[in-house]
């Protein structure tokens, strides 16, 4: 391969040095005794033992998974009708509507989450509406809370669900639906027995993709949550930048990494559709 060598060697050297080696180092840092930020040469499993034995940290990990699960669920529930409409509509606005539903990908997750703060804070839009309608006497506290984090993340990750489900719908032969309808099946029955089963891999891919991104998201839990709603990502940030305990930060990072990989492995087992949806920038 002499002709191809320089093309491959430079980018690979870069990725090995700046991605693979640091990630490998993270694993070793997680099992070394650290003095503050500097790992020493003595191996230890205390970092993992401390995280997994403390009810506080176990709670954080559990909350992260609950958040991820419900974010995935909400994303596919909201994305499915939208994706179905976008694929099947004959509106001349089709292209514009597709662009509009994917455009949020161009906004930083901070921009997308800020809107939820404006809606949910004590002087926010939702409280104004409830007060105006006379449904409540005084403003409710929606923030900080885990449900707010779930809604905010589902909103931020919706385009991934739309992309995954759209590609499953695009890959499906529309003649199958017409055949079911012409043989007398009702539209509802056609959907349940033909369309949904055929696009289920796309739904699973969207669910797992949203789940995996959600558990590693920092900004939304930081903005819509608080000290009582820490997730793995906000905890890692505290370990690394506030408490300066890089050993615990690395161990939590390894747990997060293993969780994301486990999820994507499940996606691989379910049919390998998950990678398709990742063609879009996060």
């Amino acid at each position: 391969m002499p002709r191809g060598l320089p093309l491959v060697a430079l980018p690979c050297a870069f990725l090995l040095l700046c991605f693979a080696a640091p990630t490998a180092y993270l694993f070793s840092a997680s099992v070394l005794i650290a003095e503050g930020m500097i790992p020493q040469d003595q191996p230890t499993i205390d970092n993992f033992r401390l995280i997994l034995s403390s009810p506080l940290y176990r709670g954080v990990i559990l909350r992260t998974f609950v958040v991820g699960f419900f974010v995935g669920l909400l994303v596919v529930l909201l994305a499915y009708p939208l994706a179905y409409f976008l694929v099947r509509t004959r509106s001349r606005w089709k292209g514009a509507l597709i662009a509009l539903s994917l455009a949020p990908l161009l906004a930083s997750v901070i921009v997308r989450t800020y809107g939820w703060y404006v809606i949910l804070n004590q002087d926010g839009a939702l409280n104004s509406l409830l007060l105006w309608a006379g449904l409540v006497e005084r403003p409710l506290r929606f923030l900080p809370s885990t449900p707010a984090i779930i809604v905010g993340l589902a909103h931020a990750l919706l385009p991934y669900g739309v992309l995954s489900i759209m590609s499953a719908l695009n890959a499906m032969d529309p003649a199958l639906e017409r055949a079911a309808l012409s043989l007398g099946a009702s539209p509802a029955r056609t959907f349940w027995r033909v369309t949904l089963p055929l696009t289920l891999p796309g739904v699973a891919a969207g669910f797992i993709l949203a789940f995996a991104i959600a558990i590693g998201a920092y900004a939304t839990p930081a903005i819509l949550g608080g000290p009582a709603t820490e997730t793995m990502a906000t905890m890692i940030r505290n370990f690394m930048l506030v408490l300066l305990d890089w050993g615990l930060g690395s161990a939590m990072g390894v747990i997060l990494l293993a969780s994301a990989l486990a999820l994507l492995a499940v996606a691989g087992l379910l049919g390998g559709g998950a990678r398709r949806g990742t063609a879009a920038p996060a």
Partner: protein, 274 residues
């Protein structure tokens, strides 16, 4: 489904879709409205009308991180395209041992949580004694790592879509390899290169999870500056800054879309093209 005479479900679907669009776009529109708020609180509906938050968004305090993000994203996009396009070319057109390994290495940063890549790089720089790189150069390294997969993928998609006979025809007509590359291959795949560059720019410009750890107090992108400002509360200034940081990539993509159908790389079922 419309052809099935099933208008009722279709109308119901349109209502649901309208609601999902309201959910997806509402928060962004509300943020836009708050940025023109007359009072200093993030209230909705806005109290009065004022441009002072936009004035603040354009002040040096915010222009500095905004300019930093723009420089960082532009350089990230150029470097990613410069090393990503040749790599994609090699992956699609050449056979070599360890190819699967190289492919895994390229998608790695896309698959692993960006936040973990960030803390790994932060520690690695410190261990190598390169802690001084934290700031612009550390961010550039990290952003190229996480943006490279987009460039490689878009270029690979356009290379796979190109009939290989084109290059063979040019070569058989006597064009030397570098002329084939410049006059045939590059014009055909330029769409993929531009799309990859644009995605890399947007990905860098909007990143939070990696930048959080590699920014230094004086050298931080606008996303990190917004997060730091949040600790002091939510002023409508942030709404204006947020809108500004949304408009910049939007305008960039819209401009580029006029020349290159970038959107195709986003949603036109890349899985089927390959």
């Amino acid at each position: 489904m419309r052809s099935g005479g099933a208008d009722g479900p279709w109308i119901a679907l349109r209502a649901v879709v309208a609601a999902v669009f309201a959910f997806a776009l509402g928060p962004i529109l509300i943020t836009a409205a708050v940025s023109f708020n007359g009072s200093a609180r993030s209230v909705f509906p806005p109290e009065g009308f004022s441009l002072r938050w936009w004035g603040e968004a354009f002040s040096a305090r915010w222009w500095e991180p905004m300019g930093f993000s723009l420089r960082l994203a532009a350089l990230t996009a150029l470097v990613s395209a410069a090393i990503g396009a040749p790599l994609a070319f090699a992956l699609v057109r050449r056979r070599f041992r360890g190819k699967a390994l190289v492919e895994a290495l390229v998608v790695g940063p896309l698959v692993l949580p960006t936040l973990v890549t960030g803390i790994a790089l932060l520690q690695f720089l410190h261990v190598l004694g390169l802690g001084a790189l934290v700031g612009f150069w550390g961010l550039l390294i990290g952003h190229v790592v996480i943006s490279l997969p987009f460039c490689v993928r878009t270029v690979a998609v356009s290379l796979r879509a190109m009939p290989p006979q084109l290059e063979a025809a040019a070569a058989s007509l006597g064009a030397p390899p570098h002329v084939v590359l410049r006059r045939v291959t590059f014009p055909v795949i330029s769409g993929g290169v531009f799309a990859g560059t644009a995605f890399a720019f947007v990905h860098s410009f909007t990143d939070v999870n990696l930048s959080l750890f590699l920014a230094s107090p004086g050298e931080r992108p606008v996303t990190v500056a917004i997060l730091a400002f949040l600790e002091f509360g939510f002023a409508p200034t942030l709404a204006a800054v947020s809108m500004l940081s949304l408009v910049i990539p939007l305008v960039l993509i819209a401009l580029l879309e006029r020349f290159v159908p970038i959107g195709d790389f986003l949603y036109a079922d890349p899985g089927r093209r390959r």
